[in-house]
Symmetry: D2
Subunit: 439 residues, 4 copies
Amino acid sequence: MAYADDNLHFKIFSDPVHGFISVPKNLILDLIQTPEVQRLRRIRQLGVGHLVFPGAEHTRFVHALGAMALMQDALKSLSEKGTHISAEEYTSALAAALLHDIGHGPYSHTLEHELIADFHHERMSRALLLHLNDRFGGALDRAIQIFDDTYERPFFHQLVSSQLDMDRLDYLRRDSFYTGVAEGEVGVQRLIKTMRVHPPEGGADAEMTIESKGIYAVENFLISRRLMYWQVYLHKTVLAGDQLLRAVFRRVRQHFEEDSAAMVDEGAPALCFFLRQQIEADQLDDPTVRERFCTLDDTDVLYSLKRWMEAEDPILADLSRRFINRDFFRVTFLPEPPEEPLVEAWRAQVADWLVREGLSPAPRAAADAAYYLTFDFSRHSAYERTQDSIGILDRDGHVQELSEMTDTSTVAEMTQFVVKPYVCFPKAVGLEPETAVAG
Amino acid sequence: MAYADDNLHFKIFSDPVHGFISVPKNLILDLIQTPEVQRLRRIRQLGVGHLVFPGAEHTRFVHALGAMALMQDALKSLSEKGTHISAEEYTSALAAALLHDIGHGPYSHTLEHELIADFHHERMSRALLLHLNDRFGGALDRAIQIFDDTYERPFFHQLVSSQLDMDRLDYLRRDSFYTGVAEGEVGVQRLIKTMRVHPPEGGADAEMTIESKGIYAVENFLISRRLMYWQVYLHKTVLAGDQLLRAVFRRVRQHFEEDSAAMVDEGAPALCFFLRQQIEADQLDDPTVRERFCTLDDTDVLYSLKRWMEAEDPILADLSRRFINRDFFRVTFLPEPPEEPLVEAWRAQVADWLVREGLSPAPRAAADAAYYLTFDFSRHSAYERTQDSIGILDRDGHVQELSEMTDTSTVAEMTQFVVKPYVCFPKAVGLEPETAVAG
Amino acid sequence: MAYADDNLHFKIFSDPVHGFISVPKNLILDLIQTPEVQRLRRIRQLGVGHLVFPGAEHTRFVHALGAMALMQDALKSLSEKGTHISAEEYTSALAAALLHDIGHGPYSHTLEHELIADFHHERMSRALLLHLNDRFGGALDRAIQIFDDTYERPFFHQLVSSQLDMDRLDYLRRDSFYTGVAEGEVGVQRLIKTMRVHPPEGGADAEMTIESKGIYAVENFLISRRLMYWQVYLHKTVLAGDQLLRAVFRRVRQHFEEDSAAMVDEGAPALCFFLRQQIEADQLDDPTVRERFCTLDDTDVLYSLKRWMEAEDPILADLSRRFINRDFFRVTFLPEPPEEPLVEAWRAQVADWLVREGLSPAPRAAADAAYYLTFDFSRHSAYERTQDSIGILDRDGHVQELSEMTDTSTVAEMTQFVVKPYVCFPKAVGLEPETAVAG
Amino acid sequence: MAYADDNLHFKIFSDPVHGFISVPKNLILDLIQTPEVQRLRRIRQLGVGHLVFPGAEHTRFVHALGAMALMQDALKSLSEKGTHISAEEYTSALAAALLHDIGHGPYSHTLEHELIADFHHERMSRALLLHLNDRFGGALDRAIQIFDDTYERPFFHQLVSSQLDMDRLDYLRRDSFYTGVAEGEVGVQRLIKTMRVHPPEGGADAEMTIESKGIYAVENFLISRRLMYWQVYLHKTVLAGDQLLRAVFRRVRQHFEEDSAAMVDEGAPALCFFLRQQIEADQLDDPTVRERFCTLDDTDVLYSLKRWMEAEDPILADLSRRFINRDFFRVTFLPEPPEEPLVEAWRAQVADWLVREGLSPAPRAAADAAYYLTFDFSRHSAYERTQDSIGILDRDGHVQELSEMTDTSTVAEMTQFVVKPYVCFPKAVGLEPETAVAG
């Protein structure tokens, strides 16, 4: 696209994060030009995050390109260290990196909670991979094996999906770049340069490791990741935006259920499809569901909310307006989840306020309070050792698990799961949860 | 929003380009929270540019914040050099910088051609400024004077609108940052540090000047601007995207005119309002028009195109699909505009192709070719001396116009207007305009 | 110097790390122009580090400017948060930041071990501060109080000397920048923005704190600092260069002691002054010693080594040549210090090698081995809680010590002192310390 | 050195400008480890420039590494475009890029005027290349052919020495980075990506060209280069430092000529060698001269000046002190060279001042004024078309000379040589050249 588009074998993209990205003019470029991948151009990487970090409007499309570019760097580096990689493996690994997140929908976190029951984007990614593989006549067979971790050389899967995969390397670096949160910056090239397949032949028993000189870079990566979670992904205002969007969706779903006339069906058809009925995760392979899902993007959500701002239902209109004009609720973290009597008292206070504001008639106010007062938990563990650990390779060829090394005692701490309860409500109601809970 | 939101007097935004931006918690923050300004979050700065530079999804909102932040820097620097600025002037200048582009619509360049006759965003900006001023009880009186250049100290207007205004400084720096086109990088802080009001009292006869040591930085700024025009704003693929979008709008407008059933009215109401009728520029002050305009953003355009992909009219469906899936036409620059017989021959070739492709029935194909074959000019002058010139202040207090200085002979060259004709058509048709015109 | 040198009240320096640095044209600029500060231009910040990181030639001069610039930012931010700072305090704090490291000598780490017994650069800094204060007629009285922590508002001392002082903020950011070790990058502006004096009046009982939202940034700072220690300051090749330089100095000192003719006194007089006799730390206030110290910089060391390359003593010539041509010894970390019999065996091996190489006659080889085989410890603690802790201020005005907070369990780990024994010897000798110690 | 030093085939350097630089462990690494190349670590790239830009202490060593790294990128890109490059050619081109500036001495610009008559660093570079080639048994034969432009494929020479060679690309990018002059930033990777050998076989008639889409990047490069010249390389304070150093050297040479006792021979021997006698350019191949030259670096100059600060000759002491403490003369540009009577009057004024200051006895003051009052010209042409032009390759395979293209009319302007006369004198004398010449 930008620049050098007449180059012989590559199409060049200009990316502010990685510089020039060279896309081979083969299967990889064909995949990029599919509607399924182009659709990622209309899905922001950070969901509601751009409402908190105004420079962070970047999309899942440029992230997918970036993950593929890092895969190129990693494979080149591993080759130089003696791990042979065939041309077909090279292309398959690039495809797997490019498509690893293709199953994401708009405002993915919110969507996973409210739009489809038990939705996991990995499952939709797999459904789309299979579908594309049909269209490309099996050209993605090996990429799917890598994705599924059934390929005979498991280190490829680790490059696509592990604690230190190309996905994480790109998104941390990229989200740090676009949000301006410099502490999240990760030395991506350094990490890639310290990766090594061990044993280098890369057979069935080989694994991706980090050379021992890279342990501080890995530790720094984990800390940066933790910092990005608390300062960006789980930022209080991001949580507030997420809660608000979920409230809108629940309200619309209720209207559909009650078949109330409310103009909810003036929302975008692709979105209404998922709100009018409850799609279950095991319907994702159904072609109708898959096709609808593939037409759904951020514009449907925003368009619908703009329409619903004019709904007769004052609650739907108010919630939609709040989201569009970024007039979010307040989020307060609590030392522990509030007990039931306290919640009851708060709920009554919110209901009173709804009546006073003319948003809800008295008989319904108690029920409607559920859209204005929500509880949830933010949770994060920087290093999920149990899931798949990071092996450190010393100069004698021994591999040790990262958190067991004496130099990195901080890592052991980071394996702990941190859970923070929080409450979300309109500022104007005047709840004072800090005092209530502390007392 | 991000960080430090409990600070006493400022709300802090994290911007990847300028770092932290401090927004005073007064009129300025109130303005930012209006729906009119929040709407800029849903309008990309570069229109179709993000389809060429995948990292450049940044919006007019963050640009408006950036222009305001640079205004803070400029006013602070001018104060240090002895030009007194009152608190009210300070706030008014910030407001003017923040709101200078508020009248932009989605895909502004396209829109100025197809949506409203003789539209100029400055005119809509002014209408919205007046409207906001009403709502804020006259608090924007002075900002409007600055915008209109009727304020008694004209250097304020120059900071808001001139060859070296805060708008240009921010957008060049920002667009360079997000596209990854490093050559467009402008030494914004250096330029601001060399600005000086002369005479420093800043009365009615005073003007913004650049200290003589800054001439190379100014020259570099003009070259960078020129480079950004040819490599980004007027990139061939950007022109192709623009032509495609204009073709869609023209097709929809034709359906509305012919009152054909075609599902064009399933497009977003805010967009259809402007396509169903021909709004003239002098209707912009009409409250209905203004309100509709204020609900219009990128999501309406993209939502509508996604709907029109399913239109029965094969041409509308094809054009919409091409835009959404980034399957643009080809643009070829020509040494001079083609003569009529050649254009006729090309048109016939396109019409044949439309019939072959089943996009148009034979009787209509000649007329429909107008959607698939377009001609236009890209034009740009790096330095518009006639409009408002840049004065260089030497150490003896003399001001000389930039392009007249002996050290900057390149600048005189840049005052020339460069115009490049081009033709735009589907690659598959097989036109070979280079050969045809050269022969 | 660069740019804007005719500005009214400031001299502007162009710094690649912080951009433009504005130096007030008052005491601060006068201090910068003293020979004592200009001398810092000839002392590299990283000592032998530039021999490992070829881009890191930056000097203590630009670091001192940077620390002063950050002090300006910090004082401005604290003022905005309600802590009054008088003009005299402002200038004194800037002076203290500028001069905090003025007592450093060339290759400071090496020098502290070999050149002056029990040397601490803080002590020489204080001697020079007092001397400058005499010359400036007492203008530095308050800066010295701040330096000594006897000033009535102790938070000023914390800005100059604490875990999060301007010195550390600048050197970590700067060393990361120049070495290219991106993980060491610290969000300096973010940390400064979260600083707060508590209580804000800033009286005798007030302290510098970090607002609770800044804890992740602080944690990241500590991790970055740790990473810079292990990857830069205590890099194995840096340790090797340091050991080599110490060996040269010890050899020259031996020649002086033995009054051997060897051309050691062709070294730079300023350096020979400190090698010919053993200066003790309590002589630093002696004007002769102070004056000699002030003429000593990197050029004396390098000039002397280049001269000594031509010495008749083959050991002095060899050690000098190795340093100048960067032909360092090998450093190997050991799990624990080697036991005496093993050390004896190694020493014998080195002595044999010295004889074989013609560097030492057999009778002296055992003694000379001490220049070619050294043992030492690299040691570092990321967070020295006992020294002066970092207080975190929550929204209710309570201050808690950083390592006690539940969210930052990693910090507690970082309070541990890490000590790594190592051995240093010529590669050609063929010692295999890993095997020996492991066995 | 830094990182990854156990990699199989490459030694990795961490460079803040280009990131990781991979040095092949073959001839290239051996060359880097020679004393001749290591010596470049002690020669600053910008000579006195670091006294104006305090962050710019970078050396010719890291620049040489950078030029070699860019050569790797360029050769890789040209290969991808179909120009075959053999392994031997690859290594030879890397060697040529690495060694292209090996003949530079300390404060090169000053040295070329005062130390050796008619010195050109290219000539010394060639002498050193031949000398190294002897030592490496002819391994540099082809590199020397490339350097001399006698190799059968002339495009290699163009990569090493032309308007757009790797030397210029690295030094502009690097000097911009270290000085903080952002406008000088050059899109190095973009320029390299648009290079193409034409015809691609790269035979005797083939030349390096820039693809037509790269013309704006080239124009930007030329403007950046021009800007760096006027803002950095020919900065007034840089000129002043250069004049001062030349005055010191002339004074020392005079003492040697007069055989005055003055302690001039306490300067560094390597420097005194060149000041005691007048070496002519045709003596550079003389082994004694070459060896002396190879021991000369910045430390000798600075060490000598520090010694000469204590000279009995008050003029030598004063000039040396001024350089060491950065107390430079003033430089004023003049519209045209001053006429003789005016110069005479100024000279008398300076002589009076020298007597008043006790720097010179009355009888000698007129002659001594030549050290305190100097005239010179700064001169620069951004694009030296006559020397070797830049060819632009269009899509049809035609090559056109850059300055003849219609799109780049600014380039024609930049072919002009700009010459600025200036005068240099101590501020305290009170000359007012602006007035004198204007009047």
